[in-house]
Amino acid sequence: MLPGRFTAMRKVFLLFIILLPAGSAAQNVGPFDTEGLRSLLGNRSDTVYVVNFWATWCSPCVKEIGYFEELHRADNPLLKVVLVNLDFPNQVEQRVQPFIRAHDLTAPVVNMTEMDYNKWIPLVDEDWSGAIPATLIFSAKGTEFIGTEIAREALFETIASFNSK
């Protein structure tokens, strides 16, 4: 009788610790616009900003999103990751929030609400077509724009090169 109850309790306890982090960690995606982008890009300090543009419907974006999450989880005080989501704002509840939960993303995600993309695309890079994935890395020391998919090693090396600049 006792061992049975113990097992049941342990199961409930295990279930509790499995569900708790996933349930409570799901962040709320905030709206983002041209002004928000302008102010983000104005942060020129020792901190290296890694800004990734992505969408849930973009499969190469989804493939590499884990690298950015990994960077964020490294908890480096001089590194900030921002994931700029380009799903339509009316898809945030249906698609983006469930994606964040499913991938357990803790890196901050914002959703671009300025739908006239030509207003903000040139702020990121003059020559960017708006194709995603795209990643902008910058600090006071410089700017690196990657308008394509990026391999994990290449991403980490590019960031490391900022630290040694």
Partner: protein, 199 residues
């Protein structure tokens, strides 16, 4: 003079390699592609039209979906006055399994497309035009039997919400042509998904 010549040869070479995209004013590239009804459709079939709204688009891209109704409306609005829509799906079947010919047929039927929806099987046509996005519009102007590119780019300036559109680029371009003017802007960056090339 010789230096200048060399420089211009260099610059021409550069512009060809950097951007293969057609520019406003360029002659349109002829095409003959299979429509969802099984028949072949050619640019030359449209000789008696004033122009053509050529749209590279596809089935699954959220931007293409968001614009489907607006592309239908463009056709309904302008086909009668000589600017019909012709849609071309440029995506590779393997890279984008939702863009097979059968799925194009299904989508065309479901949405009741009043215009041809052609498959760029070899992917030569989208490359010749330099299309990169879905949707990506090339508005063609028929000048004495020669189709020329009059406008390239986005349909309007709000993909998600038609009611928030403040610039109807394609409509404005057609109205300019109708008045005998060149569209201004003649080019606006197209916003959408990347075209899926064969790997």
């Amino acid at each position: 003079m010789k230096k200048l010549l060399l420089l211009s040869v260099f610059l021409i070479g550069l512009s060809v390699t950097v951007s293969a995209q057609l520019a406003p004013g360029d002659a349109a590239v002829p095409f003959t592609l299979k429509n969802v009804d099984g028949k072949m459709v050619s640019l030359s079939d449209y000789q008696d039209q004033k122009g053509m709204i050529l749209v590279f688009t596809c089935n699954p891209c959220p931007f293409s979906k968001a614009y489907e109704q607006r592309i239908i409306q463009l056709h309904k609005k302008f086909a009668a006055s000589g600017y019909p829509v012709v849609a071309i799906n440029p995506n590779d079947d393997i890279a984008s399994p939702d863009d097979t010919f059968e799925k194009m047929q299904a989508r065309s039927k479901e949405m009741n497309f009043p215009f041809p929806y052609l498959k760029d099987v070899t992917q030569d046509i989208y490359k010749a035009y330099g299309a990169t996005r879905t949707p990506h519009v090339f508005l063609l102007d028929n000048k004495n039997g020669t189709f020329r590119v009059a406008y390239i780019g986005a349909i309007d300036n709000n993909a998600m919400d038609e009611r928030s559109v403040s610039e109807k680029y394609v409509e404005q371009a057609i109205r300019a042509l109708e008045k005998g003017n060149q569209p201004d802007p003649a080019q606006v960056k197209a916003i959408g998904c990347t075209i899926k090339a064969r790997r």
